[in-house]
Symmetry: C2
Subunit: 246 residues, 2 copies
DNA sequence: GTTGCGCCTTGATCCGGATCAAACGGAAAA
DNA sequence: TTTTCCGTTTGATCCGGATCAAGGCGCAAC
């Protein structure tokens, strides 16, 4: 694997330090962390780890996008996680990876040797608490995903995925989700198919259909324009209010 | 809701105290817990809470089986969690329930008022740590479930569900999973369909097919006999070794 | 007994998405 | 420039599971 240590200290973008795990750490706790962390970068398409691999470290995504996925013996693949900056990789207490982790874009991860990290979790409750919050959020996302996989039509699945990505982009760039909102798809058609439990042909056809029906517009293959966000939400089959009302 | 407080102290079967959260609590921590916990019982089929309900407590299943599920406006339903004794209900820090919780059999839950429980999580790290472990296990289960929903055929789905239930029964009763192993289905055909993203007719047909092919035998509608456990596993499409080998 | 009611099974038909196949378009390599 | 290649689109056909419909079985109420 062509991965390299790129920095050992003071990465302002390190999510474990500044956003994910250590948002509430004391300065001396941060110094402890500095001693056991290092960085790795992977090119788009590269595997980061295979299911069954020995995991010597846990990690956190700093930049880029990676996927968690499971593959059956005959090759059928299901994505089970989409890892964005600040998301956590690996699991304290577990020696072997349970899923394949693959870089979708160029990805930099911040690694912590597993043993020291585990002992730190005991001595520094904040880290465990933050990890619990993150895991609960992931569980909620997984459950929303299960509804998509189990009960939605192909069109609803595509609309749901677009809405998920659009919402994330909007919140990231402080952007409005108003009219004419636009964003880039970070995933290939095949990756979208693996996400949604479809074939890439069906993904392509349904995107074309949404375009034909004026729900979205495309610039090239990857850039999506959403003229009316509510119209997109209508296509997802979800409740109009995202569970916000009584 | 015909729910009643059934006991306020010393429930040897309370999973929060003895199995789930407090496995490593000190005696004085247990006493703290006693002050803020109470029990409720629900009949089979009764709703325990609806998505959107205000949650005044978090809880833990003591006896019986309950389901977590999501329903779309038009009635399509997807089960997203199967709650067994010792499983946790609710989420610290969240005011409203995200999913419908329904009793499948008669269910007794052990409730903790949410606020005191949350403050206790801060003062008693063991509880948070145990909760993290449980949540990570649930996340793994959800991801296995996503593969089932997204990529498996109806027959593989049924076989997978039977294998999941069989394995749990086996581990519960210290039972072997050897030849002639038998267990009761805790779910109706409809609940199985909601679990697997199928219709109840397809569930019924595929169970009949597995019976016809000698993979399983039935006693009545609910009791399943598995003559050869490996043959059942073969039908799931999963790797033969459950990821145990290198 | 018989009636009614859940829960389950089975049959006939339909349709959405998979599969097989071909071709397109843009970017990098030659 | 042309070639190659990868990601994508589109078309034709097939099939697994949904849908619609009828009937069976066990059980509790009457």
């Amino acid at each position: 694997m062509s991965s390299a240590v790129i920095d050992l200290k003071n990465c302002d973008n390190c999510p474990i330090r500044h956003r994910a795990v250590c948002a509430r750490c004391e300065p001396d706790e941060l110094e402890q962390l500095e001693d056991i962390k290092f960085y790795r970068t992977y090119d788009a398409g590269q595997p980061i780890m295979w299911a069954g691999d020995q995991m010597e470290f846990v990690a956190s995504v700093v930049t880029g996008i990676a996927t968690l996925s499971q593959t059956m013996e005959d090759g059928r693949t299901q994505m089970v996680g989409l890892l964005l900056p600040s998301d956590f990789i690996g699991r304290p207490g577990r020696v072997r990876a349970s899923y394949d982790v693959t870089a979708v874009s160029e990805v930099t991860i911040c690694c912590f040797r597993r043993k020291p990290f585990e002992t730190m979790m005991v001595t520094t409750p904040h880290i465990g608490q933050r990890l619990l919050e993150m895991t609960l959020d992931e569980l909620d996302a997984a459950r929303e995903w299960m509804l998509i996989l189990g009960r939605k039509t192909a069109r609803e699945k595509i609309a749901s995925l677009l809405a998920i990505i659009a919402r994330r982009e909007a919140s990231l760039h402080l952007g409005k989700t108003g009219d004419g909102f636009a964003f880039d798809l970070p995933l290939t058609r095949e990756a979208m198919a693996d996400y949604l439990g479809l074939t890439l042909e069906t993904v392509s056809r349904q995107i074309s259909a949404l375009k034909r029906d004026g729900v979205i517009a495309l610039e090239g293959k990857r850039r999506v324009i959403v003229p009316d966000f509510d119209a997109l939400i209508d296509e997802t089959g979800d409740d109009a209010d995202g569970g916000l009302l009584s």
